[in-house]
Amino acid sequence: MAELQKDPMTRGDFLGFGVLGAVVGAILTIPPAAFVLGPLIDTDVRGQSDVPSGPDDWFEVAPISEVPAGTEPKVFTVEFPVEQVYGKPEIQEESGTSSKEFTVPSAIWLSWEHEINADGTYGQNLRPSFLDGKSEGLSESEIEEIQSTLNVLSSSCAHLGCPVRWLIREGEGEFLCPCHGGIYNINGEYVAGPPPRDMYSYDFEVREDGIVYAKHQFDTGGDNGPQEPYVI
């Protein structure tokens, strides 16, 4: 092997390295970083979301008459659209060949709010009694009463996002997370286990026709802490 030859670096060489390095470095770092971090720029910097949540983006969950009257929730599936990367509606339209809408099917637990006794057992069922006679053509005050007593809960456990199930033990029902045993009562309030907060409840509204509508949005403020459900 030849001897090593160490020529001195001139000022021009140094400048050359600096300029060429800066050009190559800038082109090969900044655009790739923005390219890969795109979704992060959209969501965190520009405040966009993959789930449509404008004033018109309400999705039908179920008629109010299907919510069980007793101490028991019922699960309904709502397919919230997801406008993500190549699934964005304008791109789907542009291509013309693929019109499949991307959705996140979400399980929503509906139930009536219950008073909780001091020992944790369920007290009075707060279901409005006028619902025995009618399930549509509701007046404004009736809607308001329903909205204040209906539980619209996400099935995603507030701990690590596993799907919670309704389990009856010793006569009392409760939501149980199969992953780490988080337990919530029928109102979605935290009872036991590792979850840091109550179950997430959807933003929802009830209309005169007696149908519950929900948005892909959750109560993330207030006492429940800042943690968003993210994943689902």
Binding site: D44, V51, Q84, V104, H159, Q227, Y230, V231
Partner: protein, 267 residues
């Protein structure tokens, strides 16, 4: 007749190896690789490292093969794996090897690491090889995590949901980290694309050069298996040090060493 063919074949072979050696130096290189002396007593212990390498090689090979049929989209990923498992020739075997050797990989990597830890193989001058090894372990674990979602079945999907939700609890960077992984603020088509890119390109591309560095450092400093490889040399060293301490004693005290003091110390 047969003798002539044999001698001609031998001549041709010699010509070809000489030709290659002259142009690439490959024969010297191979001899250098193959004839390095390695410790004899712990030979079976060192198979843990090569088994790790073998499992990773299987991952690369079967992973590339699976890509001939796998489709990384939410509506076709599951179907394409179902096809591999039920219709493709030897699909069960190719995916089975990918799955099972991933499991074996985590076992042997743990054993390999434990062996190096308990034998003190990370000590100077081999510190950096330990550091590279830990980095390799982390890469393998992240590869295992990202590969799980690609099936787009219940197991993989929910494990990833839990995994990302765990990441969301990271102090300060939790939210951005999982929005980066999901490619948005909800799990969807972008999530699968990203996990695919990480599992198939980014992480293996990072893994390969680190494996190279691991092997290079191994060859540079030699294997260190266990102290029992060196027991004769250690015994000789201690014997020599003992003799020297006697000489030192005689020099200091001016009288011959009888060994009595040594015995007293011991009692």
């Amino acid at each position: 007749m047969i003798g002539r063919i044999r001698s001609q074949a031998f001549e041709t072979g010699k010509f070809l190896t000489d030709w290659m050696e002259h142009r690439t130096g490959i024969v010297t290189m191979m001899e250098h690789f193959l004839y390095e002396p390695v410790p004899k007593r712990g030979a079976w212990l060192y198979t843990l490292g090569s088994a790790t390498l073998f499992c990773i090689s299987l991952q690369f090979l079967t992973g590339i093969l699976l890509l001939f049929y796998y489709v990384p989209t939410t509506d076709h990923a599951w179907n394409s794996i179902y096809y591999i498992m039920n219709e493709a020739y030897f699909g069960t075997l190719i995916r089975g090897i990918h799955y099972w050797s991933a499991n074996f990989l985590l076992v042997v990597i743990g054993l390999h690491m434990a062996q190096v830890f308990f034998s003190g193989g990370y000590k100077a001058p081999r510190e950096l090889n330990w550091v590279v090894g830990v980095a390799l372990l982390l890469l393998v674990v992240v590869l295992a995590f990202t590969g799980y979602l690609l099936r787009w079945d219940q197991d993989g999907f929910w494990a990833s949901v839990v995994g990302m939700k765990i990441g969301s609890y990271s102090p300060f960077v939790g939210g951005p980290t999982i929005r980066f992984l999901m490619g948005g603020d909800v799990i969807g088509p972008s999530t699968l694309s990203r996990f695919f890119a990480l599992h198939v390109w980014l992480l293996p591309a990072a893994l390969a050069p680190l494996i190279g560095a691991h092997l290079y450092l191994l060859r540079k400093h030699g294997v260190f298996g266990s102290e029992f490889e060196y027991s004769d040399r250690l015994a000789k060293l201690h014997e020599r040090e003992r003799l020297e301490s006697y000489e030192q004693y005689e020099e200091d005290e001016g009288e011959p060493f009888t060994g009595r003091r040594d015995r007293e110390d011991r009692e």
